[in-house]
């Protein structure tokens, strides 16, 4: 007992493959390639199944299939390609637009050509935050399914700070509103963390219940005089003052500095998890709580702190919407960003760098979906189907292995978080 306990550091580091200066460059590239194999094949498989869904949901397809199978199949393939092309150009812009814009040299045209990319960045911004929120929980062995509720409470606090303090310069007002949003989300994450640590209440159930509690809270506050916009009978908040708005990245485009804040948050979470003592404890608790306890770490402290920070990050997702896009709080500011965060964290294996990439992908899907629907009539919800399939394939690597008969890693690093309802 007298001799110091060997910390789980070496084992922890090597199993997670995060040791920076070990293997050769070639070996590291190989690891990266194999790590990317599952997500890429997952996206590919999801797009293929999505195509099948598009074709099968076309009522006329079956009629034409009987009269002229060849033409029917050709038309179906054409429809799928058209839908995916609009999805793609809606997310990244069309090459011809870029060429035309740059050859003409008209700044207005150039700006217009970049609108799709701006929309993608805009849609990706809240996803980065909710993805980070869920991932931080995963790393500590917690499943935060309540990012949606934390997002709303964060947005509620952020909006309040946005409209309640007049006359502040932007460099005071923005941090104030952002901090309020973090605080709101953190509060909504602290409760399940505390209950889990003190009573063993499963965080999945508590966060689901807190989601509904948050919806009702928002529904109430949007009718409270002083919060509700004057002269309106519908549930909508006052407008946040423009000194609290995230400034646009480029004048005239909607993408704003909220995205940059998302990148900063990703770096901060990365540092917290992989460079700080506290983050090491989070991961140790998530990886093996028993070992962590024997090494003298407090599971309760890690649980409470991780859930609180996770909630705060989700709250920042709320501010990225109310301070960056809508400038006021209503129902429906989040169309499932909290739940997409789960998908993103899973896809990125809870690594901050992966979360940025996965958020850009999901943001692109969201941004491209609207033009796809208006131009080809394929409903937006296709994107949701694709997302669900992507997570399914990413979370079950064995499935990808069986379909493509290739060697992929046994695990995607997600197996560490809690099993069942137990504390």
């Amino acid at each position: 007992m007298a001799e110091p306990l060997p910390g789980p550091a070496p084992a922890e580091g090597s199993t997670r493959g995060t040791v920076p200066d070990g293997p050769t460059l070639a070996a590291r590239l190989g690891t990266t390639a194999r790590g990317l194999a599952v997500p890429i094949l997952a996206i590919f498989s999801a797009l293929v199944i999505g195509a099948v869904v598009i074709v099968l949901s076309d009522v006329t397809f079956f009629e034409r299939l009987q009269s002229d199978p060849g033409a029917a199949l050709g038309a179906a393939v054409g429809e799928v390609l058209r839908a995916y092309r609009e999805l793609f150009t809606g997310a990244l812009g069309s090459p011809t637009d870029y060429v035309d814009a740059f050859t003409s040299g008209d700044p207005d045209l150039i700006r217009k050509a970049f609108v799709p990319i701006s929309e993608t960045l805009l849609a990706a911004t809240p996803l980065i935050f909710t993805g980070l929120a869920v991932a931080l929980g995963f790393q500590c062995g917690l499943f935060n399914i309540g990012a949606e509720g934390q997002l709303y409470v964060g947005a509620m606090f952020g909006t309040f700070a946005g409209f309640a303090f007049a006359g502040l310069p932007w460099f005071v007002h923005i941090p104030l509103a952002v901090g309020a949003g973090f605080l709101g989300g953190a509060l909504w994450g602290f409760v399940p963390g505390l209950l889990k640590a003190r009573t063993g209440a499963h965080e999945v159930i508590v966060t689901i219940m807190l989601n509904y509690t948050a919806y009702n809270l928002i529904s109430w506050i949007l009718k409270v005089p002083g919060y509700q916009r004057e002269g309106r009978s519908d549930p909508i908040s006052k407008v946040a003052l423009d000194s609290s708005w995230y400034p646009p990245l480029v004048e005239g485009l909607r993408a704003n500095w909220g995205f940059v804040l998302g990148l900063v948050a990703a770096i901060a979470v990365s540092w917290l998890l992989f460079r700080s003592t506290r983050g090491f404890e989070f991961r140790a608790v998530g990886f093996n709580p028993t070992a962590a306890r024997y090494a003298g770490m407090s599971i309760a402290t890690s649980t409470i702190l991780a859930m609180t920070i996770s909630g705060g990050l989700a709250g920042l997702a709320g501010t990225s919407i109310v301070l960056g896009v809508t400038h006021s709080l209503t129902f429906g500011i989040s169309s499932g960003f909290g739940f997409d965060g789960i998908a993103i964290a899973l896809m990125a294996a809870s690594r901050p760098r992966g979360i940025i990439l996965a958020s850009l992908l999901f943001g692109a899907l969201r941004a491209g979906a609207t033009p796809m629907q208006s131009l080809t009539g394929v409903p937006i919800d296709l994107v949701v189907v694709i997302q669900a399939l992507v997570i399914m394939f990413v979370a079950a690597p064995a499935l990808v292995r069986e379909i493509y008969r290739i060697r992929v890693p046994e695990t995607t690093g997600l197996e560490t978080f809690s099993q069942g309802w137990r504390a």
Partner: protein, 426 residues
């Protein structure tokens, strides 16, 4: 050493129990204070509250008089009940009868609230109660689905997705074939198929069960919304199923209060009662149930005595999916009559909460569902009454109560020991 061990249980006081007792006592006192202070405001001293007990549409039958109570007196009486039980709870506790006392206090609180809301007015109490049972139906189907899955050791968080796809399939197949029974069967099959997917992912690929369930929820929401937007918008004839008509049971439906609540519904209601009975009997009184519970509690031991753990789990999860699919069909074939995207609105998650609340038993799940159904029903009625209290706080109550129950602040529920753990043969 042995002497200490033998006497220890008598000396050790269950500190958690004492804490629970104190929390409950304080909660009752607070409820009493809330009732006495808030619910007596803006009531005239001579006002009466009228509760109509005769169903609105009913002709003939017994003439049930309305219940008329003096508002002020009733509210103060309810406050007295809450505070009195709170005081006794704080001083000496109620031991094992705490749940009965909790129920009494809760009823007193709710009745005081209704009396206050109805002061000087007339409220159809029977309408609220009838709506309670109707709102509780899909939640109970969800809870039963959860009981079947989790008793065998598989966490089913995908109830929401199964309800939603059941609702969708019931509407579309019911309209396409013009036969709502075919629609119901199809809904059950689709629920079973989704559950099969959950089972394959969770059991064969050992995917984390909560992740697998989440995937199915997202998938079901996306696919039903997609097809609804792409097909049902233009082909409205595919979204007009014939609803199951209500079938009042001859004698039973004439019983005051209970009759209109439980014996005047449509086929879904009776199917639910049969299922509750069957699952309760099956789980606790048959060989099948013993085996299922053994698999959920200690799969290794079950395997050792020759029970096929994997097969039991597949069978139970798929059965659970079938039940959830039927429950989903209630939304379209039993209630509203056509599919709207995301129409289940989180009832599956509430069903999950009801299952936990009800201690992983069918009957407990049903009773818990009634509480959630009551909150739903009250919301619908309060908006008609134009009550000054923010109804949102009332609506929060069931969720907060679930959190309190899960946290073990009031009583403790015990889950199947192997719930959520994949089984691997050695």
């Amino acid at each position: 050493m042995t002497a200490v061990a033998a006497t220890a249980p008598a000396v050790i006081v269950d500190r958690a129990a004492i804490r629970r007792q104190r929390i409950l006592g304080v909660a009752y006192l607070v409820m009493g204070a809330v009732v006495a202070y808030f619910l007596t405001s803006n009531i005239k001293t001579d006002a009466t509250s009228t509760f109509v007990l005769k169903p609105a549409g009913s002709q003939g039958g017994l003439d049930i008089p309305s219940l008329v109570v003096p508002s002020m007196l009733t509210v103060y009486l309810a406050a007295g009940i809450c505070a009195g039980f709170g005081a006794i709870q704080l001083i000496r506790g109620f031991g094992t009868r705490w749940s009965v006392v909790l129920a009494v206090v809760a009823v007193a609180f709710v009745f005081a609230f209704l009396t206050w809301a109805a002061a000087g007015k007339s409220v159809s109490l029977i309408g609220i109660l009838q709506l309670t049972v109707q709102k509780a139906l899909p939640i109970t189907f969800g809870a039963l689905s959860g009981v079947l899955c989790e008793r065998s050791g598989v966490v089913n968080i995908a109830i929401e997705g199964m309800l939603l796809s059941g609702a969708f399939t019931g509407a579309v197949v019911g309209s396409a074939t013009g036969n709502n029974i075919v629609g119901l069967v199809a809904a059950a099959l689709v629920g079973g198929a989704l559950a099969g997917l959950l089972a394959v992912l969770a059991i064969r690929y050992r995917m984390n069960q909560i992740v697998a369930g989440t995937v199915i929820n997202i998938f079901a929401s996306g696919l039903t919304s997609f097809v609804a937007a792409r097909v049902l918008q233009t082909h409205r004839e595919l979204n007009e199923p014939e609803k199951f008509s209500s079938l009042p049971i001859p004698v039973l439906s004439d019983i005051p209060i209970v009759g209109p609540m439980f014996f005047s519904g449509n086929m879904f209601m009776y199917l639910l009662f049969v299922l509750i009975g069957l699952i309760h009997y099956g789980l606790f009184y048959t060989r099948w149930g013993l085996r299922v519970r053994a698999v959920g509690e200690h799969p290794r031991a079950a395997d050792t005595v020759g029970i096929n753990v994997i097969l039991t789990r597949y069978r139970n999860v798929i059965l659970g999916g079938v039940v959830a699919g039927i429950g989903g069909a209630y939304f379209t074939l039993g209630s509203t009559g056509s599919f709207v995207h995301d129409m289940t609105g989180g009832r599956g998650f509430i069903g999950l909460a009801a299952m936990i609340f009800g201690g992983w038993t069918p009957i407990g799940g049903f009773l818990a569902s009634l509480i959630f159904g009551f909150a739903d029903s009250l919301q619908a009625r309060l908006s008609i009454l134009a009550v000054a209290v923010p109804s949102e706080f009332l609506l929060m109550a069931p969720y907060l109560v679930t959190i309190i129950v899960v946290a073990g602040l009031v009583g403790r529920v015990r889950m199947p020991a192997a719930d959520g753990t994949p089984y691997e043969k050695e």
